[in-house]
């Protein structure tokens, strides 16, 4: 029978098929190839193991890092927040006790768990990857079935290396065409979420397909898969291809020699069969896509940057109307205001969505030779210590600090403000992260989700801006685009 990519990966991991058929079917027991662990969602799971006298079944398929709580300044000093310090110390103790490999703050491989896995070559096509973090969908960019799980499931994976799951439905997101300059992967996924809604993907695995997806780098594909959860889907995938293999080749945990050849042969079989059918198909035109930005308090409340803040009256559904009213009030926005007239206080470049080398390079290309708006503060937080080192080797840190931005150490940082990097009440932020929920970046903070180049252009002008709004600067990408 013809199968989709998701179905192939699923079927290859069924330890035990659930009894029964159709709606009455019990869940399948799926084997998990890689379990990523961090300090926030693991302490209660380790404690559960201890209380039940259970072992961690496969420490050699488990890896931990510290990311959510870690400070991005003064990382050589003890963590000032005592509860954060305790949580980090608890992870260290648990990893020691259960034999889990841990990359701690200060280690060259520490960083956001979804940046670390791919970077080490541990994320590979055809694998099942889980983590107690909803943005585990990121790893789907490699053609892995990767999903976020709750703490009870974390404990279940620790004890059994499996998960009980009911099969998902499948949804194809077809993105055809060519992105225009200044439009990026982030704009694709924000447009997808605006189109299908924050609940549109519930119960589905998304597969991103089409010429525009094939043309994307691995890091751009990770940005897209990362935000599948914002469309309600636990997992999003891209079929592996030469771009995937080129990215992986030579990474520390990538197979080598004959094993590499065997792996590639297998990975090539994972493509969705030509005659396979998806439960749902959604089309998006890349040619006409513009830079996208959110105006509200859920990631589905987004528009083109060149348009205006919508009015609650624009929404037919009563619940959507009420949600829009509430969002505009929280965001302090008036319907009809051009998005580009909205002034921000802070620009955050970082998070598991957009904190990799390409993101930093793209932003640096916009700001090189410019000065930031004096009323804006800009935080640049690399996704991992390794990314930070690579960026410094390219001199990107200098570009950011010359511009007036703060160059920080790696972690989740202001994406969710579990560390000191938070917005003040009422403060408005253009953020390359993934969630614009009320209070997400700090109590009372107001978030507009944007791409790295929009974040950079916004830091220059002080208002939400696309790179094409910038006056040419001698040394910038915007100048080169205009001059071409």
């Amino acid at each position: 029978m013809a199968k989709t990519l998701a179905e192939k990966v699923w079927d290859a991991h069924v330890v035990r098929k659930g009894d029964g058929e159709g709606a009455n079917a019990q869940p399948d027991l799926l084997y998990i190839d890689l379990h990523l662990v961090h300090e926030v969602t693991s302490p209660q799971a380790f404690e559960g193991l201890r209380l039940a006298g259970r072992q961690l079944r496969r420490p050699d398929l488990t890896i931990a890092t510290e990311d959510h709580n870690t400070p991005t300044l003064d990382i050589d000093k003890p963590i000032a927040d005592l509860t954060s310090r305790t949580q980090i110390q608890t992870l260290r103790n648990n990893c020691q006790e259960f034999g889990v490999r841990l990359h701690s703050l200060g280690d060259a491989e520490q960083g956001i768990v979804h940046v670390v896995g791919p970077q080490l070559g541990l994320t590979q096509p055809g694998m099942t990857v889980v983590c107690g973090d909803s943005h585990t969908s990121t790893h789907g960019a490699f053609g892995a079935l990767a999903m976020g799980i709750g703490t009870s499931e974390v404990e279940h994976v620790m004890a059994t290396q499996t998960l009980s799951l009911k099969p998902f439905k499948t949804m194809a997101i077809n993105v055809e065409g060519t992105l225009r300059p200044g439009v990026s992967a982030k704009d694709i996924i924000l447009a997808v979420i605006a189109k299908i809604g924050t609940g549109g993907g519930q119960g589905y695995v998304l597969e991103y397909r089409g010429s525009a997806i094939r043309a994307l780098s691995m890091e751009a594909r990770m940005t897209i898969c990362n935000m599948s959860i914002e469309a309600g889907a636990r997992a999003g995938m891209v079929a592996p291809d030469q771009t995937t293999y080129d990215y992986m080749y030579g990474r520390p945990h990538a197979p080598q020699g004959a094993e590499w050849d065997a792996a590639v042969e297998y990975w090539n079989t994972l493509l969705t069969d030509e005659d396979a059918t998806f439960d749902v198909e959604v089309d998006l035109d890349a040619d006409t896509l513009e830079p996208f930005v959110t105006w509200g308090t859920n990631p589905g409340q987004g528009v083109s940057l060149s348009s205006k803040v919508p009015s609650p009256e624009d929404f037919g559904d009563e619940n959507a109307k009420a949600a829009a009213e509430r969002a505009l009030s929280y965001m302090g926005l008036a319907a009809g205001t051009p998005m580009k007239e909205i002034r921000v206080d802070t620009v955050f470049l970082g998070s598991c969505t957009n904190s990799r080398m390409e993101d930093l390079r793209a932003a640096a290309d916009i700001i090189r030779g410019r000065q930031k708006d004096p009323n804006v503060r800009m935080l640049v937080v690399p996704g991992s210590a390794r990314v930070r080192l690579e960026a410094e080797a390219e001199g990107l840190d200098k570009v950011f600090t010359d511009f007036g931005a703060e160059w920080r150490f790696a972690g989740c940082s202001m994406c969710l403000g579990m560390n000191p990097d938070q917005l003040e009440p009422g403060e408005r932020c253009a953020s390359t992260s993934n969630r614009n929920f009320e209070g997400r970046q700090g109590k009372g903070g107001r978030t507009h989700l944007v791409s790295p180049v929009v974040a950079a252009a916004t830091a220059v002008r002080g208002t939400l801006s696309s790179p094409s709004d910038l006056e040419p600067a001698q040394d910038s990408a915007a100048f080169r685009i205009d001059a071409a």
Binding site: N24, Q26, V40, D133, G150, T151, E153, G199, E438
Partner: protein
């Protein structure tokens, strides 16, 4: 896990869609390493507003949350379920739940019952017109009763069975340990191991 068969309690109408897990429990409360004691964290930001539904009587003593569509979107934090349970909620009614939240609820004995939005609207009206009206959620018959309304709800059979029996997931899976071991023996050698650690 505690068994769930039927529950009757004060219904709390939360007329809002997309109640995300950052609203149910803000990230600052996730630094704790315990599994209980999260009642103060539930809807922490909203509870500072005296007009919020849980700050009004008799709703503060509610145990059946009746919410808008797309409840529990966002992060995978199971703390959202712990906070609802620690506060005293036994069940949440909504026309649509986020997948991860729904899964987490089932693991912790919090019943996530999916009703038609029309029925949710009728329950909201009843609870607003007659605050304190008890709501009965019966997992055996898969129905909700509020005033004169009796409405069916959906829940997958496996989760229903586990809730009715109060079964521990890990214990169930470990009955199949031989299958797991057999599967592991077929794992291709090219698949990565995290140990021993290889570094760049």
């Amino acid at each position: 896990m505690e068994k769930f068969t039927t529950h009757t309690g004060i219904g709390v109408p939360l007329r809002q869609s997309n109640v995300d897990t950052d609203q149910i429990i803000p990230a600052v409360y996730l630094k704790r390493i315990t599994r209980t004691g999260f009642e103060d964290a539930l809807f922490a930001a909203w509870r500072k507003d005296p007009a919020f539904i849980l700050n009004q009587e008799p709703f503060s003593a509610g145990s059946v949350l009746v919410a808008g569509p797309d409840f529990g979107t966002g992060s995978s934090r199971e703390h959202a379920v712990w906070a609802l349970k620690d506060y005293g909620f036994k069940t949440v009614l909504s026309s649509r739940f986020a997948d991860i939240f729904r899964g987490n609820s089932g693991k912790q004995g919090l019943l996530a019952a999916e009703l038609a939005q029309d029925d949710i609207e009728l329950i909201w009206k009843e609870l607003e017109n007659a605050p304190g009206t008890p709501v009965t959620v019966d997992l055996v018959s898969k129905t909700v009763q509020c005033g004169n309304l009796v409405a069916p709800f959906e829940i997958d059979d496996y989760t229903r069975w586990r809730l009715l029996e109060g079964l521990d997931d890990i214990g169930l899976t470990l009955k199949h340990e031989e299958d797991i071991t057999a599967f592991e023996a077929t794992r291709p050698v090219f698949k990565p191991l995290t140990l021993p650690a290889k570094l760049s």
